[in-house]
Symmetry: C2
Subunit: 363 residues, 2 copies
């Protein structure tokens, strides 16, 4: 393990020098597709990666890809099983995710990319990287493929039960993400609720909307645009949508399921008669392009924001391309200094009540 790290150190990265630790053992197609994606990320984009996992297996796979020695490997005995719950997984100190977090804590890496189970990666990295000073809870941010820039939805599942004050922080975390990754100078923020008029929603959403309205006038400014309904998630009305992790996860998966359902129905409709099938032949390229766009952008990866380190969670079913994309996203967030952006926003935000502060590293 040490020797692998030394390898990396002996060839100092050109450019930014930010190293991304890639969990090679997490995901349905790990480790082969993870290694392939890492090689593509290095060769195509010049990223600086470390693969974390079982050394023997990974060096073998690198050799098979004709990339022996191109990416340093850090050994980890253990892996998080895809089905493992959060509690079980964060108790494994030698899992590839835990070892990757250790690299970040030591300053040997700036980001973690994993296609492992979301629950396991969230739990492990939250415990091992800890929240940034002042951050109440980390939030899982996902993207919807709106134009011209994607819409950030958070929390997509890290906190099933949230407090109104957390949603205000999520707004700042999401705004930092939209600024860093999508270049949106002043991100517009909405709250996911039911009904378009102010005062609509459940208790949590109503109180959070009040706090967000108040926060709009404080520094750092928040461009709060009010209520967003479920059918607006893909309409691009705002850049950031905040909600609790339960509602966010249900909304995300409802959108995913509905898009998949609709495309499947289209496929059936377009092949239901000889004439329609002839039409479908003429359109093969367009339909494939659409499916890829909706798939990759909606489900490409989630970012866990608010920790002392950048964490990108690729879809569990990721192949090489998904891993490559997740590495690129991690790289963008690191070079855009998202951690600093969050620190600046949260440090100047009105402090939450003491009883709400969860993390032991509150300063």
């Amino acid at each position: 393990m040490t020797s692998a790290l030394s390898t990396r150190r002996s060839t100092p990265p050109t450019g930014t020098g930010h190293v991304i630790a890639v969990d090679a053992m997490g995901g349905d197609h790990a480790p082969r597709e993870i290694v392939r994606g890492a090689v593509r990320a290095v060769r195509t984009h010049g990223l600086h990666l470390v693969l974390v996992g079982r050394t023997a297996e990974l060096t073998g796979l690198l050799a098979e890809e004709g990339a022996a020695g191109e990416i340093p490997v850090v050994h980890a005995d253990d892996t998080l099983a895809m089905h493992e719950g959060a509690l079980a997984s964060w108790r494994r100190p030698r899992s590839s995710v835990a070892v990757a977090c250790k690299l970040i804590r030591q300053g040997d890496a700036a980001a973690l990319v994993s296609a492992g189970s979301t629950g396991g990666v969230v739990a492990t990295s939250t415990v091992r990287l800890r929240t940034q000073p002042g951050v109440l809870r980390p939030a899982l941010a996902v993207l919807f493929p709106t134009l011209p820039t994607p819409t950030v939805l958070l929390d997509a599942g890290a906190n099933a039960d949230a407090k109104p004050e957390m949603l205000v922080q999520f707004a700042h975390l999401g705004a930092a993400y939209a600024q860093t990754a999508h270049g949106v100078a002043e991100p517009r923020v909405g709250i996911l609720t039911i009904g378009s008029e102010p005062g609509k929603g459940n208790k949590l959403a109503r109180r959070a909307a009040e706090l967000l309205t108040a926060a709009a006038d404080t520094s750092p400014r928040l461009d709060f645009r009010g209520n967003i309904e479920g059918h607006d998630l893909l309409a691009g009305l705002v850049d950031v949508v905040v909600t609790d992790g339960f509602t966010g996860n249900v909304a995300l998966k409802s959108v995913e399921g509905a898009v998949r359902f609709a495309l499947e129905e289209v496929r059936t409709a377009l092949t239901s008669s000889p004439v329609a099938r002839a039409g479908a032949l003429l359109q093969r390229r367009q339909l494939r392009g659409l499916r890829e766009r909706v798939d990759s952008e909606t489900y490409g990866g989630a970012v866990l924001l608010g920790l002392n380190g950048t964490v990108v969670i690729a879809h569990g079913a990721s192949h090489a391309q998904g891993i490559e994309r997740a590495c690129l996203l991690a790289h963008e967030l690191v070079t855009g200094r998202i951690i600093d952006q969050v620190r600046r926003r949260v440090a100047t935000t009105t402090r939450a009540p003491a009883w709400l502060r969860l993390s032991p590293n509150e300063e």
Copy 2:
């Protein structure tokens, strides 16, 4: 008004004799499309309707449709505005919805069909029809177009903040709906949550899942199948999905928005090149059929369950066909005696704690 009712009484309905009161003034295309839909429901299906609204206007429209005197009209001065909130609307005692509820209370009608604003119709009918004995809260049930039978989702928005005990009742309300409208002998029930393993979700969903598991062994039996995630809503894994009104509304609208988005993207993709356009011409019929199926079945109408009267809320944008369909649904529920089904299920259900009982008509 009295004369109109007498007209109906002087020509006693053949068949079941269940009369449906149609709010002729609610909806984006009221009253013309409502009247048209009512005429179709009467002529095509032999339903027994009463139109409620401004008499002069409605008799004129009936004459224009060549249906003068075919449907009795009951006068109502007032209407609920589409944008009106729940509070404002239920204070209008002479609105067409309030008058329709009065007909139900008097025994002159068994059901109400309205395309008015959901909030207004829910609030008005809840106050005026009241909940059935033992029912904690009415729940809004919507359908997803799964095969072979639709999936019932409830609550879709009547109760933004719900208690776990309510979700157990929603399961019984939904099961009664699936039995009555879809002929499902033993409806399978799931709870909308995040994660597939037991114990996943927020506090409300976790506690409700415990209660549902316990309820599965009591009478009337509930075939509780555990957790349902957002992406399963259109998969037909269960017949009834229960959730609180906030989550249910977000999920419903997320699905609606995503299906609309996907079909729009398909349309764009299929017309993005001359070759693809040629293909699209060959498929016009199939695509139109698909759009209608997804639109009509998903968004056709919601049913407010648990009141002393059947309430069907058609989509605000309904044209004649949507109203006709809503009338048919109301007719099915009335002839299937859904009120009795709910009474039987709720009466034998373990009673909820006294502090949870909201309605003054608790017996």
